[in-house]
């Protein structure tokens, strides 16, 4: 953005325009009364002044870009042609009257970078300058008596003047079209006004030259007027482009104001979408807990959105804050995106916390629902086990003992009692299984370390235990950790084909780290088996998080972090 005063710029532009008019008037053959020379003179003057003034504005806005100086110089180079609009053509003006066309070619091809980026641009521009000097000079020389060979040459040059001019225009047009076709949407948006105006001007210029071929005709004046207007439009279009980028940045300023006043029209996403002019914008907020980006409602955000959209990360220092999934065109305006994100940083952080919370709630609700369903199913199972097992067996015991009691045959008593005893022992077995399901007795007796040692002791592979727990843990945490190790070791037994495994329990701060690793086949994926999903649920239901590192062929390490507070 310009750091210079806009008032000074406007003053400079106006002053330059004034000086330009004075110079033209002073150089003209019949000074004064410039208005009398008709619309062509007026429009021509306006075009020249536009280039000069527009060039000064551009120069001051973007001092390092040569487009500004080029336009300003073009405005100066316009003077000889303008002088020719006066009656009585001066020789110097006649010789220099084409210079502006060469400069126009240079400007059109150098826009918007200010440099002639390609060799073809340089060649065409060079040619244009040569023609712009040679053709009018030849025409001017024709006024003087010349040796025949030279006259023949200048005649031929003058005769082919229109072809050469049209050819040049065609080349410039072709290069501009090619560049346009290669440009991205955003680049096109940025250069459209100037490119459009310059292409129209180039065509108009060629047509104007062609019109001259037919000698004086009623169309000549209107065509020249159109050409002048379209040239005048070029610096105007440049100013429009400038204003447009000003407005883009103005929208960022508006965003800052609205966010600071909390005058939100919608969500932060809507605000950013409006500021960046990208209605399909998606804002993803980082959730450390889930290790991914989620939207404002806590749903995961797709970071592979397809060819027309790209992902830009917004970080706060080193920490990830958010991502914008936006139109690829916005890549051309990184400063705008950056400015908008900087403006919205605080709001983004707020929204991120909210999104994080929503994501957690969503996840928690889902895992709680599944745990409740699981608990419900378990309770039903226990009830059925008790009903079908223990109760039936005890009933049969009562009946058998009743038979023995009422027995008339004393010899039958002993077998009946033996039968009753067997049934009671079976009932004890059933009860053991049920109570183990309700709460593993070993956990009650020995705590988590002892229970994990028992799991290790009955596992079919060698299991090394590293259980650095010196303080008692909350019972819910012990229970969760026990089931996680149990399930994890069961998975190792079933799927890993491991020769050894290890279990590590450690307190890190107020969190219990549960780690179960093996040297098996790896390639475990929570998406593939319900076992791992169940583990993840159990971890989440206890406020924890499950991560699995299981490269194929390199074993599996399952980690769960459970908060103990």
């Amino acid at each position: 953005m310009a750091t210079r005063s806009r008032g000074t710029t406007a003053l400079l532009a106006v002053a330059a325009g004034g000086v330009w008019l004075l110079v033209v008037n002073a150089l003209g053959a019949s000074p004064g009364a410039i208005w009398r020379h008709g619309p062509i003179f007026v429009l021509g003057a306006l075009a020249g002044v536009s280039f000069l003034a527009g060039g000064i504005v551009a120069w001051r806005e973007h001092p390092r870009n040569q487009v500004g100086p080029l336009m300003a110089v073009l405005g100066v180079a316009w003077i000889p042609q303008q002088v020719l609009f006066f009656p009585g053509q001066q020789l110097w003006a006649l010789a220099l009257c084409g210079l502006w066309a060469g400069m126009a070619c240079h400007l059109f091809l150098a826009f918007p970078t200010g440099r002639l980026d390609l060799v073809s641009y340089k060649v065409v521009t060079g040619l244009a300058y040569v023609l712009a000097l040679v053709l009018p000079t030849a025409k001017a020389l024709m006024r003087f008596p010349m040796p025949v060979p030279l006259r023949n040459f200048t005649d031929a040059l003058d005769a082919s003047s229109w072809q050469l001019t049209v050819l040049m225009s065609g080349m410039v047009l072709a290069l501009k079209v090619k560049r346009w076709r290669q440009a991205s949407m955003a680049q096109r948006r940025a250069v459209a006004p100037v490119t459009g105006a310059s292409m129209v001007a180039t065509v108009a210029f060629a047509v104007d030259r062609l019109a001259e071929l037919f000698g004086p005709n009623p169309l000549q004046v209107p065509i020249t007027l159109v050409m002048l207007v379209s040239f005048m439009a070029v610096p105007m279009a440049y100013l429009v482009g400038l204003m447009r980028s000003r407005m883009d940045h103005g929208r960022v300023a508006d965003l800052v104001v609205r966010l600071s006043r909390r005058e939100r029209r919608g969500t932060l996403r809507d605000e950013l979408a409006a500021t960046l002019r990208d209605p399909g914008l998606v804002v993803g907020y980082w959730t450390a807990e889930q290790d991914r980006y989620v939207d404002a409602d806590g749903r995961p955000v797709d970071l592979n959105p397809g060819p027309s959209r790209v992902v830009t990360r917004v970080d706060q220092g080193e920490a990830p804050l958010a991502v914008l999934v936006h139109d690829v065109a916005l890549l051309e305006q990184p400063l705008l995106v950056e400015a908008a994100c900087a403006a919205a940083a605080l709001a983004l952080e707020n929204e991120r916390l909210t999104a994080d919370l929503r994501a957690r709630l969503r996840q928690l609700a889902a895992s709680r629902r599944r745990m409740l369903q699981w608990g419900e199913a378990e309770r039903r199972r226990f009830e059925r086990d008790l009903h079908d097992g223990v109760q039936q067996r005890l009933l049969s015991v009562a009946m058998t003992l009743g038979l023995a009691e009422a027995g008339t045959d004393p010899g039958r008593a002993a077998p009946l009692i033996g039968e009753a005893k067997t049934a009671v022992l079976a009932a004890l077995d059933d009860l053991r299984a049920v109570s183990h399901g309700i709460h593993p007795p070993v956990l009650t007796e020995r705590g988590l370390s002892g229970a994990v040692k028992e799991l290790a002791a009955v596992a079919p592979m060698a299991v090394t235990c590293d259980l650095a727990l010196d303080e008692p843990l909350p019972q819910a945490v012990e229970s969760a950790a026990y089931y996680i190790v149990n399930e994890a070791l069961a998975n190792v037994t079933k799927h890993a084909a491991a020769s050894k495994a290890w279990v590590r329990l450690a307190l890190v701060g107020r969190r219990l780290l549960v780690e179960v690793g093996d040297d098996g086949v790896g390639g475990a994926d929570p998406a593939l088996g319900s076992g791992l999903a169940g583990l993840a649920d159990r971890a989440e239901a206890n406020g924890g998080k499950l991560t699995i590192d299981s490269p194929p062929g390199k074993g599996t390490v399952l980690k769960v972090v459970l908060p103990c507070a």
């Binding site: 005893k421 009671v424 022992l425 004890l428 077995d429 053991r432 183990h436 007795p441 070993v442 009650t444 007796e445 020995r446 705590g447 002892g450 040692k453 028992e454 290790a456 002791a457 009955v458 596992a459 079919p460 592979m461 060698a462």
Partner: protein, 215 residues
């Protein structure tokens, strides 16, 4: 043979005392707390101390810890732990690398008086008695393909289990209804197949088998 009982459930404690008296044992003490048992054993060592795992005050593993202490302090006293559940890790902890005069059984086993009495006598005379459930769990660990245990015949595995339970060759022969000589042959074969160095006739063979199973 004199037996001291430590059990917090009055019903089971009194029933057990009655049962043991019936089977010809002398009940030297019948207490509720592990501390009381330790004090009593120190004062008047019995042949066998029978104790539960869950004991007051916390009803977690007081009994198991007391049993380990007893085995350290009084190696001559047999220790038989009874529990509603049996665990491999507890067995390992209880044995502590020494199978002399130790037993670990499910409480259910009291229902077969003759068998239970035999187990107490075994423990009281320096032998061992490991619950079949624990042995089964230990054997169950060796189910991976290529494990030497899978090379044993069905009969050899049965002999191995009974050996691990701490039974003598004579008892194994009786239970499997085979000749004692046959049991000896099976034992030798098992030791060769498993690559165990200790002699199958050695009294330390139980430890060798258990170490193998728990490896």
């Amino acid at each position: 043979m004199r037996v001291a009982i430590c059990e917090d459930s009055t019903l089971f404690r009194e029933g057990l005392a009655r049962l043991l008296t019936e089977a010809g044992f002398a009940v030297a003490a019948s207490v509720e707390h592990a501390d009381e048992l330790l004090a009593h054993v120190a004062k008047d060592p019995p042949d066998v101390a029978v104790l539960d795992i869950r004991l007051p005050p916390t009803h977690t593993d007081e009994g198991l810890r007391a049993a380990v202490t007893l085995r350290e302090r009084h190696p001559q006293v047999g220790v038989l732990v009874l529990s509603q559940y049996v665990r491999v890790s507890y067995a390992v902890e209880l044995l502590g690398g020494r199978t002399e005069g130790v037993g670990y059984l499910l409480k259910d086993r009291v229902s077969d008086l003759a068998e239970f009495a035999a187990a107490i006598r075994r423990v009281g005379s320096g032998g061992s008695a490991l619950d079949p459930v624990v042995v089964e769990q230990l054997v169950g660990r060796h189910r991976q393909p290529g494990d030497p245990l899978r090379m044993l015949t069905e009969r050899e595995r049965a002999v191995l289990r009974l050996m691990a339970e701490g039974r003598t060759n004579m008892a194994i022969a009786e239970l499997l209804v085979i000749a004692e000589r046959t049991v000896e042959k099976h034992c030798t074969s098992i030791f060769v197949k498993l690559g165990l160095e200790a002699s199958p006739h050695d009294h330390r063979r139980v430890l060798a088998v258990l170490r193998y199973l728990n490896a």
